[in-house]
């Protein structure tokens, strides 16, 4: 059976991971390469690298780091942040990204998703939507959740999928940072609207929140979080054991073994 995915998201600025604490065996908590390797060896099914740099110089540094990460860990990598043009897709794909996540870029240029899907395939294009309730409807927000676009979110996400987005990351601004659980109502609305994988983001505070997510909404394919993983509040191996104990299929790599040669 296909497994539910657990995805840590790493924000990178000026070549360093922005937040995190020291894990055992990790000498430099803000080294993207070390942290990526740590997560990859401790049960992460995929990693998201989010480029939150502002300047051109920092962007070049980000792609150098991406190349180093992609050359040393061998699980799927999604890259987001500052993706506004096909050249941006090209830039991160050539460094070893498997998927590219677009957010504000798709709001500014509605044709970007279609062009990218045509050039790189749907499986490569992830639409990442920051969504918040405004006056009784779900609205898409831009600029890292600071600006109300006025657009109704479910229809907008559906249009992005029709244009070729192969996956949806739904980040609920309403639950983000609250740590009281994922936004089940919003996720249900998106899962009902699209037939591509949906990744839940925003609100994870405990292992139970992930159990509830996958139990309540079977259509959700993955759970994404940042600080609860980086601060060690949730250890991914323990999370996966709990999910498995609750009848949710997850990938648990057994200890290294060589089999009988």
């Amino acid at each position: 059976m296909i497994t539910k995915r657990i995805i840590p998201c790493l924000d990178v600025r000026n070549g360093r991971v922005v937040k995190g604490v020291n894990f055992e065996g990790l000498s430099d908590v803000s080294s993207p390469v070390e942290l990526a390797r740590y997560y990859s060896e401790n049960g992460a099914d995929e990693l998201v690298f989010y480029d939150i740099t502002a300047s051109f110089e920092e962007r070049a540094l980000f792609t150098d780091i991406l190349r180093e990460v992609a050359g040393s860990i061998f699980i799927p990598l999604t890259v987001g942040g500052g993706i506004n043009t096909l050249e941006d897709f090209d830039r991160v794909l050539r460094c070893g990204a498997d998927k590219v996540s677009v957010n504000s870029g798709a709001i500014r240029n509605p044709d970007l998703v279609r062009q990218a899907a045509r050039r790189y395939g749907n499986q490569c294009v992830v639409i990442s939507a920051d969504v918040k309730r405004v006056g009784g409807e779900f609205r898409v927000f831009a600029k890292g959740g600071r600006e109300d676009t006025g657009m109704e979110a479910i229809g907008w996400i559906r249009r992005c999928v029709e244009q070729g987005a192969g996956e949806v990351v739904l980040n609920s601004i309403d639950t983000d940072g609250v740590k009281k659980g994922f936004d089940l109502e919003m996720l249900r609305a998106v899962c009902d609207a699209v037939d591509v994988p949906v990744i839940a983001s925003g609100g994870a505070g405990s292992i139970q929140d992930f159990v509830t997510l996958f139990r309540e909404i079977p259509g959700v394919d993955a759970g994404l979080a940042a600080s609860v993983f980086h601060f060690g509040e949730i250890a991914i191996p323990a999370l996966k054991r709990a999910l498995r104990a609750n009848g949710i299929t997850v990938r648990i790599e057994e200890d290294a073994h060589d089999g009988a040669d």
Binding site: M1, I2, T3, R5, S40, D45, R67, A70, G71, S72, F74, I75, P76, L93, R94, C95, G96, D98, G121, N122, Q123, G166, E167, D195, V196, P197, D221, A222, R251, E253, E254, A256, H257, D258, G259, A260, D261
Partner: protein, 206 residues
């Protein structure tokens, strides 16, 4: 030396990095002389079957790969590269592949229940059909990373492992020196690396 065949389809960065992490010497190439001198060949690929098959023909790689496989050189197809090993694909019409393995590549739509999403994207378990050296370092139920909308059918004579996605889908195939994985071993963590290692270890032939 392993030649990773470059015919302008897909991203080879991770594949080459994973082979190098295993200590294998890997070269990305479309040069016939390099391909002929390689110990083993890997045929990667993502995207549409028809485009990829056309590119192999235009570049002369179609005949070269067939000749190298006929000489006994080991060949591993990955993802679309695996699908290209078969006789024919039904992806947007009917298109001929390399014809190195019996079988046809058909849509998952109609075979997989409508409740499951297509493409299948994510980690799924392997189920062994028969012993094979590609499996020598992994276990039944180990997970690997899939991204696909089509799968190889009517390939009982080469079937080595399957995965269950509402239906039993072909995951690993092999016949003599021609092998293939529907999933991406270069994106499948330690399990994927072990499969690549098993391929690198197997008897090379010049």
């Amino acid at each position: 030396m392993i030649a990773v065949i470059d015919y302008g389809v897909g991203n080879l960065f991770s594949l080459v990095s994973s082979l190098r992490a295993l200590g294998a010497e890997a070269t990305v190439t479309c040069d016939p002389a390099v391909i002929r001198s390689a110990d083993r060949l890997i045929l990667p690929g993502v995207g549409a079957f028809a485009d990829a098959a056309a590119k192999l023909r235009q570049t002369g790689l179609h005949d070269l790969i067939r000749a190298e496989a006929a000489s006994g050189k080991e060949l591993l197809g990955i993802c679309l590269g695996m699908q290209l090993l078969f006789e024919v694909s039904e992806e947007y019409g009917e298109h001929k592949g390399l014809g190195l393995l019996h079988g046809r590549v058909v849509p998952m739509k109609g075979v997989v229940p409508p409740s499951l999403k297509i493409p299948q994207i994510g980690w799924n378990q392997l189920h062994f059909v028969r012993p094979h050296r590609l499996l020598r370092h992994i276990r039944e139920n180990d997970c690997v990373y899939f991204v696909h909308s089509y799968y190889a059918a009517d390939c009982a004579d080469s079937l080595v492992a399957t995965t269950e996605y509402g239906a039993e889908l072909t995951a690993i195939v092999a016949r003599d020196n021609v092998m293939g994985c529907q999933f991406h071993p270069e994106k499948s963590g330690n399990v994927g690396l072990r499969i690549l290692r098993a391929f690198c270890e197997s008897e090379g032939k010049r």
